[in-house]
């Protein structure tokens, strides 16, 4: 489930509020978005992918809250990790284009 909106990283663009398919976040006037309906999070990681500044952390566990701290997530290098692998963000190439996409099918045919 979504666990962290990093206060130090978030720029209040509210994109996560818009793109979350299950309406988990609420916009806050003059502040950063809040996780308002955490149990509605389906753990699809889409908010992380759309966040332009890697300020969100979704824990893989869809049923339990792990209470990881922002510091832990930072130290483990988990902020933005998925977006990087998908190849979204300035100067990156989308993974969709990666040669391995074809090579796997050629090898496992």
């Amino acid at each position: 489930m979504i666990e962290i909106v990093s206060e130090s990283k978030c720029i209040s663009c509210n994109l996560c509020v818009s793109v979350c398919p299950t309406n988990v976040f609420d916009k806050v006037e003059g502040g950063i978005p809040v996780i308002a309906r955490q149990s509605d999070c389906q753990t699809c990681f889409m908010c992380e992918l759309y966040c332009p500044v890697d300020a969100l952390y979704v824990d893989p566990n869809p049923e339990q809250i792990t209470l990881k701290s922002e510091e832990d997530v930072e130290n483990l290098g988990l902020f933005g990790g998925y977006r990087e692998k998908v190849g979204w963000g300035k100067g990156r190439t989308p993974v969709a284009k990666h040669d391995y996409m074809y090579q796997l099918s050629a090898k496992t045919r």
């Binding site: 398919p21 753990t43 990681f45 889409m46 284009k97 040669d99 996409m101 796997l104 099918s105 496992t108």
Partner: protein, 532 residues
Amino acid sequence: MSERKPDLQLTADVLVIGGGPAGTWAAITAVSKGSKVVLVDKGYCGTSGATAPSGTGVWYINPDKQQREEAKQSRYGLGGQLADNRWMDRVLDRTYENMNKLGEFGYPFPLDELGNPYKRGLQGPEYMKLMRRLVLKAGVRILDHSPALELLADDHGVGGAHGYNLHTGETWSVQAGAVIIATGGCAFLSKALGCNVLTGDGYLLAAEAGAELSGMEFSNAYAISPTFSSVTKTAYYRYASFYYEDGTAVEGAGSQRGRSIIARNLLQGRQVYASLDQAPEDIHPLLRVNQTNFFLPFDRLGIDPFKDKFPVTLRLEGTVRGTGGIHIVDETCATKVPGLYAAGDAATRELICGGFTGGGSHNAAWAMSSGSFAGEGAAVYAATLGDSSSTRSLKGLSSSTLTRGASDAKPNKTEERVRAVQDEVAPYDRNLFRTSKGLNESLSTLDHIWQDIRNETISLDAHSVKKREAAAMTATARWMYNTALERTETRGMHKREDFPQQDASQQYRLISGGLDKVWVKKEEVAKEAVLH
């Protein structure tokens, strides 16, 4: 709903409900046929649904006679010979065409060794981001976070929908010549990847308008996933070995044929572990790139899935990877109700994969094909209505009364009902392994839940959406189990413990419908549609 005018009133030729692959293809196709289109999504068009967070194979087969024949045969027997030869041809043709269009529209396909784009797969985030852009570029008005709560209709048929915007708190209505339901299947809030918006809403909307369903017995798909994760991508479990806690192998367990063995162990309270230890080392990096999200939970928890053993479970995917859905009556994906169309997982996929799973490449092909068939059909239908559409007197069809007044439902009642429905459809010994006794017991509970819901009014607020979802899941479960009772054999994914064999005399489809009283009837598979 006639107490007051909705806050936002729009008119269109075609209204599309649902903004996943089927809905977006429907929208851009209807525009290309001259329609003015509005698309509403319960979540956000671009991230909603099972496709957006995933990677998926696509049933993209070169128009070569032999390759096409092999492709059609691949699931025909597994699906209990309920697929339709002509429909498979149409879907293969349209998928080929649409995938080529996606390349022209700018989808970043990888290249093969000859430098040609390789088109047998799509990465969900990329695909759906592009589809949203195409929909907007086509001039379609998108209403995000705007679930449809009921269809609108008059004597001529369906003519729009009415709903609620979760972000603004406003009600909306769209009057349209034709409506396409592309709301996906039903996974009963099991948290399978991307599936929690898929609660059978479109089935209920369609049935309230008098449309029928088909193949609802093919609704017991379960996906392997780590116990600690929502990622229900199962392709890589072909490389898995399965173990008990003490490290001994689980005999016969596997991803394709051996899923039942995993389920029976879990039923007995024996945890099963998996390890992808059969994947050759040289393809590890390729696997990591092909399904980035598969590895995300492991990486975050410091698990090496190629070496370590991790606990697995089976998560219900219902009709998302099952094949049941709204019955379509002609090549335009029309339902039997004038003005109402169905596409994607909301519609039955028996036509291309019978009772075997539509998961992976088939559902993706079906979404883009049926979406464009429905988009064309709805556009033509709306055009024939001409000016008469402006003089219609439409009424809401919700089976529970929607009101602006206070709700008489007690708080927490909705959550209770959802859990009660899940208790009937999630257990492996009810849904995966079916018996007459189990199905009847579940139905008596489900019928009570339905009666409760029926007698309630729903006030138009943020909770109304969840209440309608609960109603849709209850109705869906009743169609599933009534149909499953009727099919006294084992065919496709439908497994009857009390009838473990396929029965050649039951090679027909089962059509269902009805709200307070659910009915099921047989429909023959057309002779000329059989694949030899």
